[in-house]
């Protein structure tokens, strides 16, 4: 029953307009010559030119990318381990606490994660003298912690779908655990690891609240820079910066989506060919 409902499709059209009109408006006004961000004063790309000369923005971008690369990579390693542990090791001591620990950060409000992590770092510095100052290290540690559980969720779901019997067969045929991990488990869950990494990278690159708590003087990530400017109001140079970010991310997601869809279609075709060949 694929009946066409005018009501449903009208709501959907309005919903997509709701999603995209604010972003398109922001992109449009980034080419505004006027200093007033919301009143049109002619076409200009001067805000983009100003952006590329703004050392503060470029420094913040580099710092954000460094933190995101490092924290996403560590979070992917730890998160994948946790996902494998939860999916394959049915019983170990403290499993209940462990599964609680990988879900709790997902629903913890960011403000609470922020103040708890900051109090932890301050008290730790008080007791053992480390971390002496807050900045790159503390931000990275905090980002690893809250993004690894997203990786765990993705990897765990994929592990539950994957067939454990293949791993057991490899063991019976004499493979060592390391070989099984390298040759079977990791290749099978590699799409999940990749999307987990991308997720962790994006979350790290995007975080404001937790970062604003655990950062120290002189360590301004790109979201923190935008946050401090946005609090003062709408300006055309933030419109330009936002446009660049949105378009970069949008293009990345679109390309990834198209590649994934193509890979899926190829896999389906291969499966059909294999099926026909066996008949």
């Amino acid at each position: 029953m694929r009946r066409r409902s005018t009501f449903l499709f009208t709501v959907m059209a309005f919903g997509f307009a709701f999603f995209y009109v604010p972003i398109l408006s922001m992109i449009f006004f980034s080419f505004n010559a006027s200093r007033l961000a919301t009143v049109w004063g002619g076409f200009s790309t001067k805000w983009y030119a100003a952006l590329f000369r703004n050392q503060q923005v470029l420094d913040a971008l580099v710092l954000s990318l460094k933190i995101a690369l490092l924290s996403a990579t560590c979070a992917t390693i730890l998160g994948t381990m946790a996902g494998i542990a939860l999916a394959r090791f049915r019983r170990f001591r403290g499993r209940v606490l462990f599964s609680g620990l990988v879900t709790a950060p997902l629903i913890m409000p960011e403000v609470i994660t922020g103040i708890s992590t900051l109090m932890f770092f301050i008290l730790l510095a008080d007791w053992v003298g480390w971390p002496g100052s807050r900045g790159f290290t503390t931000i990275t540690l905090a980002h690893i912690t809250f993004s690894m559980v997203f990786v765990t969720t993705v990897v765990h779901a994929r592990m539950l779908q994957a067939d454990a019997a293949i791993e057991e067969a490899a063991m019976d045929l004499g493979s060592r655990p390391w070989q099984v991990l390298k040759d079977i488990t990791l290749p099978v869950i590699s799409p999940a690891i990749l999307s987990g990494w991308l997720l962790a990278f994006t979350i790290s690159l995007d975080d404001v609240v937790i970062t604003s708590f655990v950062t120290g003087p002189g360590n301004t990530t790109l979201p923190l820079l935008i946050w401090s400017k946005v609090k003062l109001g709408v300006t055309p140079d933030i419109n330009a910066l936002a446009t660049l970010i949105v378009l970069t991310v949008g293009a990345g997601v679109l390309i990834a989506g198209i590649l994934l869809q193509r890979a899926e279609r190829r896999r389906e075709r291969d499966m059909q060919l294999a099926y026909r060949a066996n008949q």
């Binding site: 959907m12 408006s25 009143v39 049915r90 609470i112 103040i115 109090m119 008080d126 991990l181 970010i245």
Partner: protein
Amino acid sequence: MTPPPSASPASPATATTPAAARPAAAAGAGWFDRRGWRDVIIAAPYLWLVVFFLVPFLIVIAMSFATRTPTAPPFGFGGENPILNLQGYRRLFTDDLYIRAFLTSLLNAAVATLLCLLVGYPMALALTRVSPSRRNILLMLVVLPFWTSFLLRVYAWMGLMGTNSWFNRLLTDIWNFLVPADMALRYVPMMNTNFAVVLVMVYTYLPFMILPLYASLERLDPTLDEAAMDLGSRPAQVFRDITLPQSVPGIIAGGLLVFIPAAGELVIPTLVGNAGQPMIGRVIADEFASARDWPMASTVAVALLFLMVFPMMAYTHFQARSEERRKDAP
């Protein structure tokens, strides 16, 4: 959510010892049992989360019972201060500020969740009714805003809601056209109101509502609808009696995914909200950073958690039970 803290100190250590691993191995746990691989894979993320998540969380709970002092760090335990200072919890229920902040958060989050459901449900249902190739594109368009910066999505609305933006002038013109002349407005006051907070929350959290709803609606069997139509049901009846009851898990999942972050939201109320009516996230941040009152900030944080832990626990319970029922069904 978080298990009782009393279980924490012993378990991470014991989980790493071979003695703890061996009984599980004997039970046939799988392929990693030899050579301590298993222990490393469990212990590394386990220890990480205990150190960087559980310990800070326990610090918050302990801090909520501490006494504020003019020292650095600004709190005291024992000595001349009481071991368990319940002053914070008393203030929570007597001071107007906290009660109003909780009510504002609750109201804003509830209205935002309801609006997300009202907009998201028809969208999710419409998504199940388009051709598969178009559906993938539309789903990608739903997810795309989720990948782009949260902060910038809030910012995009600041541009629209400002008093001299094209959007505000459009709304002002519509309003002035509809109402008598003496009620005419020069602009629609949108920024720095609870309306703005709810609107931007709906905007930023709508994908979290649509995706679980879509997932549960997509699984429905269309032949049920056809059967009901053949037996004479009208579309509205089919929706009420067949589609809606079967999508309840999706509604609950989506509702919690919107409500929980919305209730603790900090960025949206700071940027577009009314500073005179702060939400609870703002109160926590202000107590902590501006007032430097760590114990009170922690008390409010614990209270916020308890407002949300219970719905979450009820939800997981409900989900597990309905899952079991589904498996039992033939």
